[in-house]
Symmetry: C2
Subunit: 118 residues, 2 copies
DNA sequence: TCAACTATTCATGAAGTATTGAATTATTTG
DNA sequence: CAAATAATTCAATACTTCATGAATAGTTGA
């Protein structure tokens, strides 16, 4: 991903309500959630939410589809992954120290822990 | 990393000049660069640069040390890695599709490429 | 078609961020 | 000590983003 696409994505992510929104939508998976359900869940006014949703959609981090009178939103994994990849691989140039810090705890090897035997 | 620390870091990163700054400092490694050298390299005025540097330092993404009349700046790998980790592991909950998208090209396995033999 | 519902857009004002250049502080060198 | 250098702070201005509530547009079902 180029910087010109990563910048709007980072701006979109630099907001508490929108981070909460991404977390909620990640949990909902590809089924997604309609705007009303999100509004109730996060306690954000409809007009405010609409603004946040459009910010995230323009940044290519989420996508929407119409279903009857609802608009259903779901995450765009490629957009999210591409943004994180931009930070890790392009911006930080795969710096080993940075890479080591950003592994998932579950996938971290712990070479300093002694192996206890018998 | 908690959201309260990730948010200022994301805000700090959501700026073209500061992304360029991080790239430059990653390249310089732990030796770092003094403010004057950064200013010349990026073509940013001294006062503007000072503002960007302090934004990044307050977000814990870079650190500074004094040396004679210079102030030398270098990246904070833990801060950068922690921020990326927040996005990937906390916010995106290690979603497999997101994780797959944000791997380094060099470390990507390409299971769909056929193995050519003989 | 009318009423109910869902979602977005618009107008407004408040708050935060960006940029410039001049002034200031601190350090080194002659 | 005075001049030169390095960096930060400050004041003023422009711009962008945030937040609220009212108005609008599209969809469904009686």
């Amino acid at each position: 991903m180029e910087q010109s696409k990563a910048l709007p994505a980072l701006s979109a992510l630099a907001n508490e309500a929108r981070l909460d929104l991404i977390k909620l939508l990640i949990g909902a998976g590809q089924a997604g959630l309609c705007a009303g359900a999100i509004s109730k869940n996060l306690g954000i006014s409809a007009s405010r939410l609409s603004f946040h949703l459009s910010t995230l959609e323009q940044a290519n981090l989420i996508q929407s589809r119409k279903s009857a009178r609802n608009v259903i939103y779901s995450v765009n994994p490629a957009g999210l992954g591409g943004t994180i990849s931009y930070l890790l691989n392009d911006c930080c140039q795969e710096n080993p120290e940075v890479v080591a810090c950003c592994r998932a705890p579950s996938s971290q090897d712990r070479p300093n822990l002694p192996v206890l035997e018998s």
